[in-house]
């Protein structure tokens, strides 16, 4: 079986205890040199020698946990085929589905094996560690599973069928974490773990106003320590204390945690809020070169001891800054969240006009055969709009925001650094964003519109990801926003297992209709090598009503022409195959199982409202 296949049972890839009877891992010289170089650029010569030794020790300890099965399996691992057309990632909280008397991770496993096997091959379990706020993103203990969800064995059980994606919440820790509590106790080991000031005046107003943050709360939060009051840097909230990466001991701790996650089964590590990792007064404090160096260091370490593990960066920033996290395509993240995609798809469907989406998609270029986009439309957070600043005008973004409000959603704002605020993300479920509950239209048309919107993320180059509420077509839960006091709760409703299963098997329910259509599309996609992340991509400008992408497999030239009608009107398309440089006389629609012939250089197609055509060249 291929080492890149998800059909392996990978539960036996690591020992719980290190095996030091075997020879210690001999780290190849090229990795040692690379690690030392990066540490020197971060911490200078004196400190970096110690850090390099310590990093090597941590790597050797990790390696001693690897089983012979894993070492053998890794020998034929090919990073160019790390991701294929089979890769589709389900994003979910570990406790999104609940059933009395069951551990939520076991409930998740039941749903996944009964319903999602063969559809999704990877599960991104959002932070499952003990936490104090932000639904898991204020981590109290990086190395434990929240006992309310289950334990490490439950996580490992999921690996029998699925690859796993873990969150590396490396930017900050909970104010209730042991690390921060020890800081409050002024334990010398932790005193430099955080960025600390005695007074606000230590940051000049000029410096303060250029710091870019995704929140409007105060940057510095006040705490009483054993030695009096201190102000600490809190990018996100007073409960999420930024770690101080100027202190190499913080980095070393995180390297240990990174490799702990690999031992515990992670195939992909999502670097949460990584943009803000390194702070430097006098700068914007976002995506600084040191931050990129740390990600590259993590990549080098993983390449050396666990090359099958990929890094994905989550950076809700303008598109050009976002794709810088690919590095040169070989030395930084293997995947980046394609943040511009969701707002541009939403724009296309709100306006029934795909021109802006088409123009942008035509600019997407592959970075390397080892790096690709994570094409998502929804997640546990909102629909970020930072990435389309510069692609859509401020007026267009504002009009989208107003329509989100009309659809029952909310808008979150960020501080711009000049004392003003601007939209940061839209808080709304994808189903409610695409459909207006108040519209007097049949559910059938809402489902068609929804599936058409989702198909855009399935056809573009990259690996698609779908949030569980997106798979189910969930509507807004605005009441939960008021209950929990945060707008992101609109898309985070917990579900009762029995009710969910009932809906999944009831053809009358919207959940059934959405889920069955979406699952079918994914299953068709997974069998087409033209949808491999590395298959070539050409975006066609056929009409503002149609979003069209041509994908061609690299190894056998299989071609699929995808056409999506983004409007509520039937569209008659006469496609001149010569003008659009389409080779082939016969095209078979994989969705409706119909064949279209080219006659007199023209492919005549009729797309019903929101219809999707996946035309495979059969000549």
């Amino acid at each position: 079986m291929s080492p890149n296949s998800a059909n392996n049972d990978h539960r036996n890839f690591h020992y719980l205890q290190p095996d030091y009877k075997r020879p210690v891992f001999d780290i190849p010289a090229r990795y040692k040199e690379d690690i030392l170089k990066k540490l020197r650029s971060l911490y200078g010569k004196e400190c970096s020698d110690f850090c390099a030794q310590e990093t090597e020790r941590i790597m050797k300890v990790y390696y001693a946990h690897k089983t012979p099965q894993m070492i053998e399996w890794e020998k034929s691992f090919d990073p160019a085929h790390r991701f294929t057309e089979k890769d589709v990632i389900l994003i979910t909280y570990g406790d999104l589905i609940r059933s009395e008397g069951e551990k939520p991770l076991q409930t998740m496993k039941e749903l996944a094996t009964k319903y999602l096997e063969g559809v999704f091959n990877t599960i991104h379990i959002l932070p499952f560690f003990p936490y104090s706020s932000d639904r898991g993103f204020a981590v109290m203990d990086f190395e434990e599973v929240d006992p309310r969800l289950g334990n490490w064995d439950d996580i490992l059980e999921l690996k029998s069928e699925f690859k796993l994606m873990f969150d590396g919440v490396f930017n900050h820790v909970s104010s209730k974490s042991k690390w921060f509590q020890e800081f409050l106790n002024q334990n010398p080991e932790y005193i430099d773990f955080f960025t600390v000031f005695s007074t606000k005046s230590e940051i000049s107003p000029d410096y303060l106003k250029i710091i870019v943050r995704p929140r409007t709360s105060e940057l510095l939060s006040s705490f009483y320590t054993l030695n009096g009051k201190r102000l600490v840097w809190t990018t996100f909230s007073p409960d999420q204390i930024d770690l101080n990466y100027h202190n190499p001991h913080v980095l070393l701790k995180m390297i240990e945690i990174l490799l702990t996650y690999v031992r515990r089964g992670a195939d992909i590590i999502r670097m949460d809020a990584v943009t803000y990792l390194w702070e430097e007064l006098g700068t914007s404090c976002v995506h600084l070169s040191q931050t990129h160096t740390i990600i590259k260091l993590f990549r080098t370490i993983l390449n050396a001891v666990a090359p099958h593990v990929a890094l994905i960066t989550e950076t809700n920033v303008p598109h050009t800054d976002n794709i810088r996290y690919f590095g040169n395509g070989y030395d930084e993240a293997q995947m980046v969240y394609n943040f511009a995609l969701p707002p541009l798809v939403l724009h296309a469907f709100q306006n029934e006009n795909a021109e802006r989406l088409t123009e942008w998609a035509a600019t997407l270029k592959p970075f390397s055969e080892q790096a690709t986009f994570f094409n998502f439309l929804d997640s546990h957070d909102g629909i970020g709009v930072m990435a389309v600043k510069g692609i859509l005008s401020a007026e267009e973004i504002e009009m989208m925001a107003l329509r989100v409000l009309e659809h029952g959603g909310y808008i979150s704002y960020k501080a711009d650094g000049d004392g003003k605020v601007s939209p940061y993300e839209f808080n709304i479920t994808w189903f409610s964003a695409i459909n207006n509950e108040d519209a007097e239209e049949p559910v059938e048309i809402q489902v068609k519109r929804y599936i058409a919107s989702r198909a855009t993320a399935l056809v573009l180059m990259g690996v698609p990801g779908i949030y569980l509420h997106g798979l189910l077509g969930s509507k807004n839960d605005a009441e939960l926003v008021i209950e929990e006091g945060q707008t992101r709760s609109i898309n985070r409703k917990n579900l009762n297992k029995l009710e969910l299963f009932k809906s999944l098997y009831n053809p009358e329910s919207t959940t059934y209709q959405v889920t069955s259509h979406l699952i079918r599309l994914i299953q068709i996609r997974s069998n087409q090598c033209a949808f491999h992340p590395n298959a070539s991509q050409r975006v066609l400008h056929v009409s503002p009503s149609i979003f069209s992408v041509l994908r061609t497999a690299t190894h056998n030239q299989e071609t699929i022409l995808s056409l999506i009608n983004v409007t509520h009107k039937t569209f008659h398309l006469k496609l001149n195959v010569e003008t659009h440089n389409l080779n082939g006389k016969s095209w078979h629609d994989l969705i409706e199982d119909e064949t279209y012939q080219v006659r007199n250089r023209m492919l005549n197609l009729t797309l019903s409202p929101y219809q999707i055509l996946w035309l495979k060249n059969t000549t």
């Binding site: 009009m399 409000l405 009309e406 029952g408 808008i411 008021i482 707008t487």
Partner: protein, 114 residues
């Protein structure tokens, strides 16, 4: 008490008085009033919330259910005299960042004339 719509400034602005409770029981009626207004080409609206003691999420949603269509027709929704509970909800949901809020109806009406 129910919803009351009054024309001001020769009918170019409407003032809509919202009842004491704006919840799932009443939000559909509010949505219908707003739908009727935009169908009649009335795009400048002041919502008088001085009597509104309680509002739930459906009420909040109803308030902004026509904001895009109003603004894209050179109009707007403006809020007047929200009480503390309602103001907290507007802040919590960040609606206060996008909808202009005034101390009283007169100020809200005059803001359209500026």
């Amino acid at each position: 008490m129910s919803f009351i719509v009054q024309d001001v400034n020769h009918g170019s602005i409407q003032v809509l008085s919202i009842p004491e409770r704006l919840t799932t029981e009443t939000s559909d009626e509010l949505k219908k009033i707003l739908k009727d207004l935009v169908e009649k080409g009335k795009y400048k609206l002041v919502m008088d919330l001085k009597d509104t003691q309680y509002m739930d999420s459906s009420g909040l949603g109803a308030i902004v259910s026509k904001i895009a269509v109003m603004r894209s027709n050179n109009g707007d929704i403006r809020i007047a005299a929200p009480q503390e509970y309602v103001m907290n909800l507007l802040e919590l949901t960040h609606i206060d960042q996008i909808v202009k809020i005034f101390k009283n109806v007169d100020e809200a009406v005059n803001s359209f004339k500026e």
